[in-house]
């Protein structure tokens, strides 16, 4: 995604992560070309979309997650055998599986991200998400337009390659949606806008991998005819 990062000089970043801010300060004296390439590195490292940081799309990662997942699920199974479980708690059991699957995912993330730490330390209250409904809520505005960049943000600058536009009018809407997003990503309810966006970028890729791994596991287990379960989705 480096191509999406503009090579215009960055405006002041008031809410970067501490390390980012330090780097940015150092960078101001450096030549713009070097600064730009390092910025790209820093951006991908914090956003988690770099291949080196969170290779959620790699086979290896999926295999290791599958192993973690099976182990976690077996543990759940041993602690609450189905035979002794009366029907009403079947859903509870599904929830326990769900939690085990998420913990395994967080372990695979190695606690490098907020969302994975939130899962591991159980700060993310898991409701059974099927019943979860987005609530409208009054949300404080967070983005205020930087005074230095009133025109540069529209993607109108030449050489700027953006695929997203940001209108002045839509900023309250954007803030509201970021808040909604913050409630969907574990541990991000009270985070700042850039943190929420970076975490969401990593979290989505992790979830995609989780779905892939669980699907293929389900296929493996139902593969040779014993499974009477309905086909997936």
């Amino acid at each position: 995604m480096a191509s999406l990062v503009s090579d215009t000089e960055p405006p002041t970043y008031l809410n970067s992560t501490p390390t980012d801010l330090v780097r940015r300060k150092k960078r101001q004296s450096a030549s713009s070309a070097a600064a730009s390439s390092r910025r790209n590195n820093a951006a991908s490292a914090t956003a988690g979309d770099g291949d080196s940081h969170a290779p959620w799309r790699s086979e290896k990662q999926q295999r290791s997650y599958s192993a973690n997942l099976i182990q976690a699920l077996q543990q759940v199974r041993l602690s609450s055998p189905a035979a002794e479980t009366p029907y009403p708690t079947a859903q509870k059991r599904g929830k326990a599986f769900r939690e085990a699957a998420d913990r395994a995912l967080a372990v695979s993330a190695r606690g490098r991200t907020l969302w994975s730490r939130a899962i591991l330390f159980n700060r993310f209250k898991l409701k059974f998400r099927k019943q979860k409904r987005p609530r409208p809520a009054a949300i404080p505005a967070v983005i205020t337009r930087g005074s230095s960049s009133s025109s540069s943000g529209r993607g109108t600058k030449k050489r700027r390659v953006t695929v997203v536009k940001l209108n002045k009018k839509s900023i309250p809407t954007v803030n509201r949606k970021v808040r909604v997003l913050g409630r969907l990503v574990p541990g991000c309810k009270k985070e700042s806008v850039p943190v929420i966006l970076e975490e969401a970028t990593d979290y989505i890729q992790a979830l995609e991998m989780q779905v892939r791994a669980m699907k293929s596991l389900a296929e493996l287990l139902s593969g040779s005819g014993s499974g009477s379960a309905p086909p997936p989705i």
Binding site: P134, V142, I143, V164, Y203, I204, M214, K215
Partner: protein
């Protein structure tokens, strides 16, 4: 416009437009709903965020369903069956 500075706590910080666009662009490429569109078509940031929320909810639902399904499947696995062997091989 004067900002109410006193109200600006650590949770309400400012973010520049450029940074916002960079971050939202990274999300955009992950979204199946918008990914297919041509690069030249600009998508508004709020649309990307809306789709991001929808997509995460969809993935959550899928994980929920798959958890249910796996819980059923694992229960139906016979210890001596081929599936049990599959599980053991994955655990190695």
């Amino acid at each position: 416009m004067s900002n109410r500075r006193s109200r600006q706590s650590s949770s309400a910080l400012r973010i520049s437009d450029d940074q916002m666009i960079d971050l939202v662009s990274k999300l955009r490429v992950l979204l199946p709903e918008i990914r297919e569109r041509r690069r030249s078509d600009k998508v508004s940031a709020s649309k990307v965020l809306q789709e991001t929320c929808n997509y995460i909810r969809k993935l959550h639902r899928e994980v929920d369903n798959l958890s249910d399904r796996l819980s059923q499947l694992l229960d139906s696995v016979d210890e001596d069956s081929q599936e049990a062997a599959v599980i053991r091989s994955l655990l190695m």
